[in-house]
Amino acid sequence: MKFIKKQIPLMIVMVVGLLTLASYYVPNKHSVDYIELLSKWENIVMAFAFLLGLISLFYSHYNKISRKTDGWGYSLFVYIGFLGMVVPAMMNGGRQMVDGRLTMLGWSFNYIYNALSATMFAVLAFYIVSTAYRSFRIKSKQAFVLFLAAFVLILGKVPLGQIIWDFLLGWTHATVSEVIEWIMSVPAVAGKRGIMIGISIGAIVTSLKIIFGIERQYMGKD
Protein backbone atom coordinates (compact mmCIF):
# COMPACT_ATOMS: atom_id res chain seq x y z
CA MET A 1 0.00 0.00 0.00
CA LYS A 2 2.84 2.34 0.95
CA PHE A 3 4.43 1.57 -2.39
CA ILE A 4 1.30 2.69 -4.25
CA LYS A 5 0.62 5.72 -2.07
CA LYS A 6 4.18 7.00 -1.72
CA GLN A 7 6.83 5.41 -3.92
CA ILE A 8 4.89 5.47 -7.20
CA PRO A 9 3.83 9.16 -6.94
CA LEU A 10 7.39 10.10 -6.00
CA MET A 11 8.73 8.16 -8.95
CA ILE A 12 6.25 9.84 -11.34
CA VAL A 13 7.23 13.29 -10.02
CA MET A 14 10.93 12.52 -10.41
CA VAL A 15 10.65 11.12 -13.94
CA VAL A 16 8.32 13.88 -15.19
CA GLY A 17 10.34 16.58 -13.42
CA LEU A 18 13.66 15.44 -14.88
CA LEU A 19 12.21 14.96 -18.36
CA THR A 20 10.64 18.43 -18.32
CA LEU A 21 13.86 19.97 -17.08
CA ALA A 22 15.89 18.19 -19.74
CA SER A 23 13.39 19.16 -22.48
CA TYR A 24 14.14 22.82 -21.83
CA TYR A 25 17.78 22.29 -22.79
CA VAL A 26 17.40 19.60 -25.48
CA PRO A 27 15.60 21.08 -28.47
CA ASN A 28 14.67 18.03 -30.57
CA LYS A 29 11.35 16.73 -31.91
CA HIS A 30 10.71 14.30 -29.06
CA SER A 31 11.26 16.87 -26.35
CA VAL A 32 9.06 19.40 -28.21
CA ASP A 33 6.28 16.79 -28.60
CA TYR A 34 6.62 15.89 -24.93
CA ILE A 35 6.34 19.52 -23.80
CA GLU A 36 3.38 20.01 -26.13
CA LEU A 37 1.57 17.03 -24.63
CA LEU A 38 2.37 18.15 -21.11
CA SER A 39 1.12 21.69 -21.85
CA LYS A 40 -2.20 20.29 -23.05
CA TRP A 41 -2.54 18.13 -19.94
CA GLU A 42 -1.68 21.10 -17.78
CA ASN A 43 -4.47 23.14 -19.39
CA ILE A 44 -6.99 20.35 -18.79
CA VAL A 45 -5.91 19.98 -15.16
CA MET A 46 -6.18 23.77 -14.77
CA ALA A 47 -9.81 23.68 -15.97
CA PHE A 48 -10.62 21.06 -13.34
CA ALA A 49 -8.79 23.15 -10.72
CA PHE A 50 -11.11 26.05 -11.57
CA LEU A 51 -14.13 23.79 -11.15
CA LEU A 52 -12.82 22.50 -7.83
CA GLY A 53 -12.23 26.06 -6.63
CA LEU A 54 -15.75 27.05 -7.64
CA ILE A 55 -17.34 24.10 -5.84
CA SER A 56 -15.26 24.83 -2.74
CA LEU A 57 -16.26 28.52 -2.84
CA PHE A 58 -19.95 27.70 -3.20
CA TYR A 59 -19.78 25.09 -0.46
CA SER A 60 -18.10 27.42 2.05
CA HIS A 61 -20.58 30.24 1.37
CA TYR A 62 -23.53 27.83 1.46
CA ASN A 63 -22.36 26.83 4.96
CA LYS A 64 -22.19 30.47 6.02
CA ILE A 65 -25.72 31.10 4.79
CA SER A 66 -27.22 27.94 6.25
CA ARG A 67 -25.59 28.57 9.66
CA LYS A 68 -26.43 32.27 9.51
CA THR A 69 -22.90 33.22 10.65
CA ASP A 70 -21.88 36.88 10.98
CA GLY A 71 -22.15 38.66 7.65
CA TRP A 72 -23.94 35.74 5.97
CA GLY A 73 -25.87 38.21 3.84
CA TYR A 74 -22.66 39.06 1.94
CA SER A 75 -22.35 35.42 0.94
CA LEU A 76 -25.55 35.77 -1.05
CA PHE A 77 -23.72 38.19 -3.31
CA VAL A 78 -21.26 35.46 -4.27
CA TYR A 79 -24.15 33.62 -5.92
CA ILE A 80 -25.75 36.79 -7.27
CA GLY A 81 -22.45 37.97 -8.76
CA PHE A 82 -21.74 34.56 -10.23
CA LEU A 83 -25.16 34.26 -11.83
CA GLY A 84 -25.02 37.90 -12.97
CA MET A 85 -22.01 37.08 -15.14
CA VAL A 86 -22.39 33.40 -16.01
CA VAL A 87 -26.04 33.35 -17.10
CA PRO A 88 -25.60 36.21 -19.63
CA ALA A 89 -22.31 34.62 -20.79
CA MET A 90 -24.09 31.35 -21.55
CA MET A 91 -27.02 33.09 -23.19
CA ASN A 92 -24.74 35.17 -25.46
CA GLY A 93 -22.20 32.45 -26.20
CA GLY A 94 -19.47 34.44 -24.44
CA ARG A 95 -19.85 37.41 -26.82
CA GLN A 96 -19.90 40.88 -25.33
CA MET A 97 -20.74 42.67 -28.53
CA VAL A 98 -22.77 41.66 -31.55
CA ASP A 99 -22.90 44.01 -34.54
CA GLY A 100 -21.45 46.81 -32.43
CA ARG A 101 -24.15 46.46 -29.77
CA LEU A 102 -23.64 45.33 -26.20
CA THR A 103 -25.04 41.93 -25.33
CA MET A 104 -26.30 41.10 -21.83
CA LEU A 105 -22.82 39.83 -21.01
CA GLY A 106 -21.27 43.05 -22.29
CA TRP A 107 -23.70 45.02 -20.13
CA SER A 108 -22.88 42.92 -17.06
CA PHE A 109 -19.17 43.32 -17.74
CA ASN A 110 -19.31 47.08 -18.30
CA TYR A 111 -21.78 48.08 -15.66
CA ILE A 112 -21.25 45.49 -12.91
CA TYR A 113 -17.83 43.86 -13.05
CA ASN A 114 -15.98 46.81 -14.58
CA ALA A 115 -17.51 49.33 -12.19
CA LEU A 116 -17.06 47.23 -9.04
CA SER A 117 -13.52 46.17 -9.83
CA ALA A 118 -12.39 49.69 -10.75
CA THR A 119 -14.05 51.12 -7.63
CA MET A 120 -12.26 48.66 -5.35
CA PHE A 121 -8.90 49.62 -6.82
CA ALA A 122 -9.65 53.34 -6.92
CA VAL A 123 -10.47 53.37 -3.21
CA LEU A 124 -6.86 52.35 -2.59
CA ALA A 125 -5.66 55.72 -3.90
CA PHE A 126 -7.51 57.51 -1.11
CA TYR A 127 -6.02 55.27 1.56
CA ILE A 128 -2.52 55.62 0.09
CA VAL A 129 -2.69 59.43 0.14
CA SER A 130 -4.07 59.46 3.68
CA THR A 131 -1.40 56.98 4.82
CA ALA A 132 1.36 58.98 3.11
CA TYR A 133 0.35 62.02 5.17
CA ARG A 134 0.16 60.09 8.44
CA SER A 135 3.10 57.70 8.10
CA PHE A 136 5.76 59.14 5.79
CA ARG A 137 7.72 60.89 8.54
CA ILE A 138 11.47 61.29 8.68
CA LYS A 139 12.49 59.82 11.99
CA SER A 140 15.88 58.37 11.04
CA LYS A 141 18.67 58.75 8.46
CA GLN A 142 17.36 55.74 6.51
CA ALA A 143 13.89 57.27 6.45
CA PHE A 144 15.43 60.47 5.08
CA VAL A 145 17.08 58.61 2.19
CA LEU A 146 13.80 56.84 1.44
CA PHE A 147 11.96 60.17 1.59
CA LEU A 148 14.45 61.81 -0.74
CA ALA A 149 14.24 59.04 -3.35
CA ALA A 150 10.43 58.92 -3.15
CA PHE A 151 10.21 62.70 -3.34
CA VAL A 152 12.32 62.90 -6.50
CA LEU A 153 10.45 59.99 -8.12
CA ILE A 154 7.01 61.42 -7.38
CA LEU A 155 8.11 64.85 -8.58
CA GLY A 156 9.70 63.56 -11.76
CA LYS A 157 6.88 61.22 -12.70
CA VAL A 158 4.57 64.03 -13.76
CA PRO A 159 5.14 66.98 -16.09
CA LEU A 160 4.11 69.51 -13.43
CA GLY A 161 6.83 68.14 -11.13
CA GLN A 162 9.34 68.47 -13.94
CA ILE A 163 8.35 72.10 -14.43
CA ILE A 164 8.73 72.76 -10.69
CA TRP A 165 12.15 71.06 -10.67
CA ASP A 166 13.35 73.13 -13.62
CA PHE A 167 12.10 76.31 -11.94
CA LEU A 168 13.75 75.62 -8.57
CA LEU A 169 16.79 73.55 -9.52
CA GLY A 170 17.31 74.44 -13.17
CA TRP A 171 20.61 76.10 -12.23
CA THR A 172 22.12 72.68 -11.45
CA HIS A 173 21.75 71.75 -15.17
CA ALA A 174 20.57 68.29 -14.05
CA THR A 175 17.04 67.44 -15.15
CA VAL A 176 14.77 65.46 -12.84
CA SER A 177 14.51 62.79 -15.56
CA GLU A 178 18.28 62.26 -15.39
CA VAL A 179 18.18 61.96 -11.61
CA ILE A 180 15.28 59.47 -11.83
CA GLU A 181 17.08 57.49 -14.48
CA TRP A 182 20.10 57.18 -12.18
CA ILE A 183 17.95 56.12 -9.21
CA MET A 184 16.13 53.57 -11.35
CA SER A 185 19.15 52.13 -13.10
CA VAL A 186 21.63 52.02 -10.21
CA PRO A 187 20.25 51.59 -6.66
CA ALA A 188 16.78 50.33 -7.71
CA VAL A 189 18.15 47.81 -10.21
CA ALA A 190 20.77 46.61 -7.73
CA GLY A 191 18.10 45.94 -5.11
CA LYS A 192 15.70 44.35 -7.58
CA ARG A 193 18.41 42.17 -9.09
CA GLY A 194 19.37 40.91 -5.64
CA ILE A 195 15.75 40.03 -4.89
CA MET A 196 15.35 38.31 -8.28
CA ILE A 197 18.50 36.23 -7.82
CA GLY A 198 17.37 35.25 -4.30
CA ILE A 199 13.89 34.24 -5.49
CA SER A 200 15.31 32.29 -8.43
CA ILE A 201 17.76 30.34 -6.26
CA GLY A 202 14.92 29.60 -3.84
CA ALA A 203 12.70 28.37 -6.69
CA ILE A 204 15.49 26.17 -8.10
CA VAL A 205 16.20 24.63 -4.69
CA THR A 206 12.50 24.00 -4.00
CA SER A 207 12.03 22.44 -7.45
CA LEU A 208 15.01 20.13 -6.96
CA LYS A 209 13.71 19.17 -3.52
CA ILE A 210 10.34 18.24 -5.06
CA ILE A 211 11.93 16.34 -7.97
CA PHE A 212 14.15 14.29 -5.67
CA GLY A 213 11.40 13.61 -3.14
CA ILE A 214 12.84 15.65 -0.27
CA GLU A 215 9.88 18.03 -0.24
CA ARG A 216 6.69 15.95 -0.01
CA GLN A 217 4.10 18.32 1.40
CA TYR A 218 2.11 18.25 -1.85
CA MET A 219 1.32 14.57 -1.14
CA GLY A 220 -0.69 15.38 1.98
CA LYS A 221 -0.35 13.85 5.43
CA ASP A 222 -1.27 10.20 4.74
Partner: protein, 274 residues
Protein backbone atom coordinates in the same frame (compact mmCIF):
# COMPACT_ATOMS: atom_id res chain seq x y z
CA UNK B 1 -0.03 75.69 23.08
CA UNK B 2 1.26 75.85 19.50
CA UNK B 3 2.63 72.33 19.89
CA UNK B 4 -0.79 71.01 20.83
CA UNK B 5 -2.40 72.85 17.95
CA UNK B 6 0.12 71.40 15.50
CA UNK B 7 -0.32 67.89 16.88
CA UNK B 8 -3.99 68.18 16.00
CA UNK B 9 -2.96 68.26 12.35
CA UNK B 10 -1.61 64.74 12.68
CA UNK B 11 -4.96 63.56 13.97
CA UNK B 12 -6.92 65.26 11.21
CA UNK B 13 -10.00 63.30 10.13
CA UNK B 14 -8.89 61.29 7.11
CA UNK B 15 -12.14 62.17 5.33
CA UNK B 16 -10.81 65.70 4.78
CA UNK B 17 -7.86 64.22 2.91
CA UNK B 18 -10.23 62.00 0.94
CA UNK B 19 -12.29 65.06 0.00
CA UNK B 20 -9.19 66.99 -1.04
CA UNK B 21 -8.00 64.15 -3.25
CA UNK B 22 -11.46 63.74 -4.78
CA UNK B 23 -11.50 67.43 -5.72
CA UNK B 24 -7.96 67.27 -7.11
CA UNK B 25 -8.85 64.23 -9.23
CA UNK B 26 -12.28 65.31 -10.44
CA UNK B 27 -11.68 69.00 -11.15
CA UNK B 28 -9.22 68.48 -14.06
CA UNK B 29 -11.42 65.71 -15.49
CA UNK B 30 -14.38 68.09 -15.57
CA UNK B 31 -12.29 71.05 -16.78
CA UNK B 32 -8.91 70.01 -18.25
CA UNK B 33 -6.01 72.32 -17.46
CA UNK B 34 -3.93 71.13 -20.43
CA UNK B 35 -0.57 70.76 -18.71
CA UNK B 36 2.12 69.83 -21.23
CA UNK B 37 3.65 66.33 -21.27
CA UNK B 38 7.15 67.69 -21.01
CA UNK B 39 9.43 64.72 -21.59
CA UNK B 40 9.28 61.31 -23.20
CA UNK B 41 11.00 58.66 -21.13
CA UNK B 42 13.79 56.62 -22.70
CA UNK B 43 11.90 53.32 -22.28
CA UNK B 44 8.69 54.61 -23.89
CA UNK B 45 10.73 56.07 -26.76
CA UNK B 46 12.50 52.70 -27.20
CA UNK B 47 9.15 50.86 -27.28
CA UNK B 48 7.87 53.25 -29.92
CA UNK B 49 11.04 53.10 -32.01
CA UNK B 50 11.07 49.30 -31.95
CA UNK B 51 7.46 49.05 -33.10
CA UNK B 52 8.01 51.78 -35.66
CA UNK B 53 10.90 49.92 -37.29
CA UNK B 54 9.06 46.63 -37.80
CA UNK B 55 8.42 46.05 -41.52
CA UNK B 56 4.77 46.46 -42.58
CA UNK B 57 2.88 43.16 -42.77
CA UNK B 58 4.81 41.58 -39.89
CA UNK B 59 2.90 39.76 -37.17
CA UNK B 60 2.85 41.28 -33.68
CA UNK B 61 1.40 39.34 -30.76
CA UNK B 62 -0.37 41.37 -28.07
CA UNK B 63 -0.89 39.75 -24.69
CA UNK B 64 -3.39 42.01 -22.93
CA UNK B 65 -3.46 40.81 -19.34
CA UNK B 66 -5.19 43.39 -17.20
CA UNK B 67 -8.65 43.73 -15.76
CA UNK B 68 -10.81 46.75 -14.89
CA UNK B 69 -8.89 47.38 -11.65
CA UNK B 70 -5.85 48.62 -13.62
CA UNK B 71 -7.84 49.88 -16.58
CA UNK B 72 -7.14 53.63 -16.16
CA UNK B 73 -3.40 53.05 -16.53
CA UNK B 74 -3.22 50.11 -18.90
CA UNK B 75 -6.18 50.47 -21.24
CA UNK B 76 -4.84 53.72 -22.79
CA UNK B 77 -1.45 52.01 -23.24
CA UNK B 78 -3.08 49.11 -25.06
CA UNK B 79 -5.18 51.45 -27.21
CA UNK B 80 -2.12 53.49 -28.18
CA UNK B 81 0.04 50.49 -29.03
CA UNK B 82 -2.71 48.77 -31.05
CA UNK B 83 -3.28 52.05 -32.89
CA UNK B 84 0.41 52.27 -33.68
CA UNK B 85 0.46 48.68 -34.95
CA UNK B 86 -2.50 49.35 -37.26
CA UNK B 87 -1.01 52.63 -38.38
CA UNK B 88 2.14 50.73 -39.39
CA UNK B 89 0.04 48.08 -41.21
CA UNK B 90 1.21 45.31 -38.94
CA UNK B 91 -0.82 42.15 -38.46
CA UNK B 92 -2.09 41.87 -34.90
CA UNK B 93 -2.83 38.78 -32.81
CA UNK B 94 -4.31 39.09 -29.33
CA UNK B 95 -4.16 36.62 -26.46
CA UNK B 96 -5.04 36.99 -22.80
CA UNK B 97 -4.48 35.06 -19.61
CA UNK B 98 -6.78 37.19 -17.46
CA UNK B 99 -10.50 36.42 -17.67
CA UNK B 100 -11.46 40.00 -16.79
CA UNK B 101 -9.48 41.27 -19.76
CA UNK B 102 -11.76 39.79 -22.42
CA UNK B 103 -14.33 42.59 -22.12
CA UNK B 104 -11.64 45.25 -22.31
CA UNK B 105 -10.17 43.64 -25.41
CA UNK B 106 -13.64 43.69 -26.98
CA UNK B 107 -13.86 47.41 -26.22
CA UNK B 108 -10.52 48.13 -27.92
CA UNK B 109 -11.32 46.12 -31.02
CA UNK B 110 -14.85 47.46 -31.30
CA UNK B 111 -13.34 50.91 -31.76
CA UNK B 112 -9.76 50.98 -33.02
CA UNK B 113 -9.80 48.73 -36.15
CA UNK B 114 -12.59 50.83 -37.68
CA UNK B 115 -10.38 53.92 -37.51
CA UNK B 116 -7.85 52.22 -39.80
CA UNK B 117 -10.22 50.10 -41.93
CA UNK B 118 -8.87 46.89 -40.44
CA UNK B 119 -10.88 43.69 -40.70
CA UNK B 120 -11.22 40.92 -38.14
CA UNK B 121 -9.56 37.78 -39.47
CA UNK B 122 -7.67 39.60 -42.22
CA UNK B 123 -5.72 42.22 -40.29
CA UNK B 124 -6.18 41.07 -36.72
CA UNK B 125 -7.30 38.07 -34.73
CA UNK B 126 -8.45 37.71 -31.14
CA UNK B 127 -7.83 34.36 -29.50
CA UNK B 128 -9.93 33.08 -26.60
CA UNK B 129 -8.91 33.37 -22.96
CA UNK B 130 -6.56 30.71 -21.64
CA UNK B 131 -5.90 30.19 -17.95
CA UNK B 132 -2.49 28.58 -17.79
CA UNK B 133 0.01 31.05 -19.21
CA UNK B 134 3.14 28.96 -18.65
CA UNK B 135 1.74 26.04 -20.65
CA UNK B 136 0.39 28.29 -23.41
CA UNK B 137 3.63 30.24 -23.77
CA UNK B 138 5.61 27.02 -24.00
CA UNK B 139 3.20 25.47 -26.49
CA UNK B 140 3.28 28.51 -28.77
CA UNK B 141 7.03 28.04 -29.11
CA UNK B 142 6.46 24.99 -31.30
CA UNK B 143 2.94 25.31 -32.73
CA UNK B 144 0.47 27.92 -31.57
CA UNK B 145 -2.44 26.07 -33.23
CA UNK B 146 -1.93 23.29 -30.67
CA UNK B 147 -3.55 25.69 -28.19
CA UNK B 148 -5.32 28.24 -30.35
CA UNK B 149 -6.88 26.15 -33.12
CA UNK B 150 -9.89 28.51 -33.22
CA UNK B 151 -10.21 32.26 -32.76
CA UNK B 152 -12.63 33.94 -30.36
CA UNK B 153 -15.47 33.63 -32.90
CA UNK B 154 -14.89 29.92 -33.43
CA UNK B 155 -13.24 30.23 -36.87
CA UNK B 156 -10.42 27.88 -37.82
CA UNK B 157 -7.32 29.91 -36.96
CA UNK B 158 -5.15 28.19 -39.60
CA UNK B 159 -7.33 29.42 -42.45
CA UNK B 160 -7.48 33.08 -41.38
CA UNK B 161 -5.54 35.40 -43.74
CA UNK B 162 -4.02 37.24 -40.76
CA UNK B 163 -2.32 34.01 -39.65
CA UNK B 164 -0.71 33.29 -43.02
CA UNK B 165 2.84 32.05 -42.45
CA UNK B 166 2.54 32.27 -38.66
CA UNK B 167 3.11 29.04 -36.76
CA UNK B 168 5.22 29.94 -33.74
CA UNK B 169 7.38 32.69 -32.24
CA UNK B 170 9.89 32.52 -35.10
CA UNK B 171 7.20 34.06 -37.32
CA UNK B 172 6.49 36.95 -34.96
CA UNK B 173 8.30 40.28 -35.07
CA UNK B 174 7.38 41.35 -31.55
CA UNK B 175 5.50 40.34 -28.43
CA UNK B 176 3.79 43.16 -26.51
CA UNK B 177 2.53 42.38 -23.03
CA UNK B 178 0.43 44.93 -21.21
CA UNK B 179 -0.28 43.73 -17.73
CA UNK B 180 -0.95 44.58 -14.12
CA UNK B 181 0.41 41.18 -13.06
CA UNK B 182 3.81 39.44 -13.20
CA UNK B 183 2.99 37.81 -16.56
CA UNK B 184 5.48 40.13 -18.26
CA UNK B 185 8.28 38.40 -16.30
CA UNK B 186 7.11 35.08 -17.75
CA UNK B 187 7.04 36.47 -21.30
CA UNK B 188 10.66 37.52 -20.83
CA UNK B 189 11.79 34.24 -19.25
CA UNK B 190 9.74 31.66 -21.19
CA UNK B 191 9.58 33.39 -24.56
CA UNK B 192 11.92 36.37 -25.03
CA UNK B 193 15.04 34.65 -23.74
CA UNK B 194 14.33 31.12 -24.91
CA UNK B 195 12.98 31.80 -28.41
CA UNK B 196 14.85 35.03 -29.02
CA UNK B 197 11.69 37.09 -29.58
CA UNK B 198 11.74 40.83 -28.82
CA UNK B 199 9.43 41.70 -25.94
CA UNK B 200 7.99 45.12 -25.10
CA UNK B 201 5.96 45.73 -21.95
CA UNK B 202 3.34 48.01 -20.50
CA UNK B 203 2.87 47.97 -16.74
CA UNK B 204 1.36 49.99 -13.90
CA UNK B 205 3.43 52.87 -12.52
CA UNK B 206 3.88 51.07 -9.21
CA UNK B 207 5.49 48.01 -10.78
CA UNK B 208 7.58 49.92 -13.32
CA UNK B 209 10.76 50.20 -11.19
CA UNK B 210 10.90 46.40 -10.90
CA UNK B 211 11.62 46.00 -14.60
CA UNK B 212 14.92 47.90 -14.52
CA UNK B 213 17.08 44.76 -14.73
CA UNK B 214 15.28 43.51 -17.87
CA UNK B 215 15.61 46.91 -19.54
CA UNK B 216 19.29 47.19 -18.72
CA UNK B 217 20.03 43.80 -20.27
CA UNK B 218 17.75 44.54 -23.27
CA UNK B 219 15.59 41.54 -22.40
CA UNK B 220 12.83 44.13 -22.65
CA UNK B 221 13.11 46.38 -25.69
CA UNK B 222 10.95 49.07 -24.15
CA UNK B 223 8.48 49.71 -21.38
CA UNK B 224 5.48 51.94 -20.78
CA UNK B 225 4.85 52.81 -17.14
CA UNK B 226 1.41 53.81 -15.91
CA UNK B 227 -0.75 56.58 -17.26
CA UNK B 228 2.31 58.70 -18.01
CA UNK B 229 3.64 55.92 -20.25
CA UNK B 230 0.31 55.90 -22.07
CA UNK B 231 0.38 59.68 -22.47
CA UNK B 232 3.96 59.49 -23.78
CA UNK B 233 3.05 56.86 -26.35
CA UNK B 234 -0.03 58.80 -27.38
CA UNK B 235 2.08 61.87 -27.99
CA UNK B 236 4.62 59.80 -29.95
CA UNK B 237 1.96 58.43 -32.29
CA UNK B 238 0.26 61.84 -32.28
CA UNK B 239 -3.10 60.38 -31.19
CA UNK B 240 -4.10 61.97 -27.86
CA UNK B 241 -6.37 59.71 -25.83
CA UNK B 242 -7.33 58.85 -22.27
CA UNK B 243 -3.70 58.82 -21.15
CA UNK B 244 -3.19 62.43 -22.22
CA UNK B 245 -6.47 63.61 -20.72
CA UNK B 246 -5.75 61.83 -17.44
CA UNK B 247 -2.35 63.44 -17.03
CA UNK B 248 -3.83 66.61 -15.46
CA UNK B 249 -5.41 64.63 -12.64
CA UNK B 250 -2.21 62.65 -12.23
CA UNK B 251 -0.18 65.86 -12.01
CA UNK B 252 -2.30 67.39 -9.30
CA UNK B 253 -2.68 64.15 -7.33
CA UNK B 254 1.10 63.66 -7.25
CA UNK B 255 1.55 67.25 -6.18
CA UNK B 256 -1.02 66.79 -3.40
CA UNK B 257 0.85 63.73 -2.11
CA UNK B 258 4.11 65.72 -2.05
CA UNK B 259 2.49 68.66 -0.27
CA UNK B 260 0.93 66.38 2.34
CA UNK B 261 4.18 64.53 2.99
CA UNK B 262 6.12 67.79 3.28
CA UNK B 263 3.49 69.37 5.52
CA UNK B 264 3.53 66.45 7.93
CA UNK B 265 7.33 66.52 8.09
CA UNK B 266 7.54 70.27 8.60
CA UNK B 267 5.01 69.97 11.45
CA UNK B 268 7.06 67.12 12.90
CA UNK B 269 10.22 69.26 12.79
CA UNK B 270 8.54 72.22 14.46
CA UNK B 271 7.09 70.02 17.20
CA UNK B 272 10.47 68.39 17.80
CA UNK B 273 12.35 71.69 18.24
CA UNK B 274 9.63 73.61 20.10
Amino acid sequence: MLKEKLEKFFKIDRRWIFLLLAIVLFAPIMKPIGLPNKTISRDAQNAYTFMDNIPAGSFVLFSLDYDPSTRPELHPQAMAMVRHAFKRDLRVGVVTFIAGSTGLISQIFAKVPGEYNKVNGTDYVIFPYQANYAAVMTQMGSDLYGIYDKDQDGRDARTLPVMKGVKNYKDMALVVDITGTSILDQWVAFVGDKFNVPVVGGVTAISQPGYGPYLQTKQLKGLLGGMKGAAEYESLIKEPGKGTSGIDSLNLAHLLVLILIMTSNIILLIIRYL
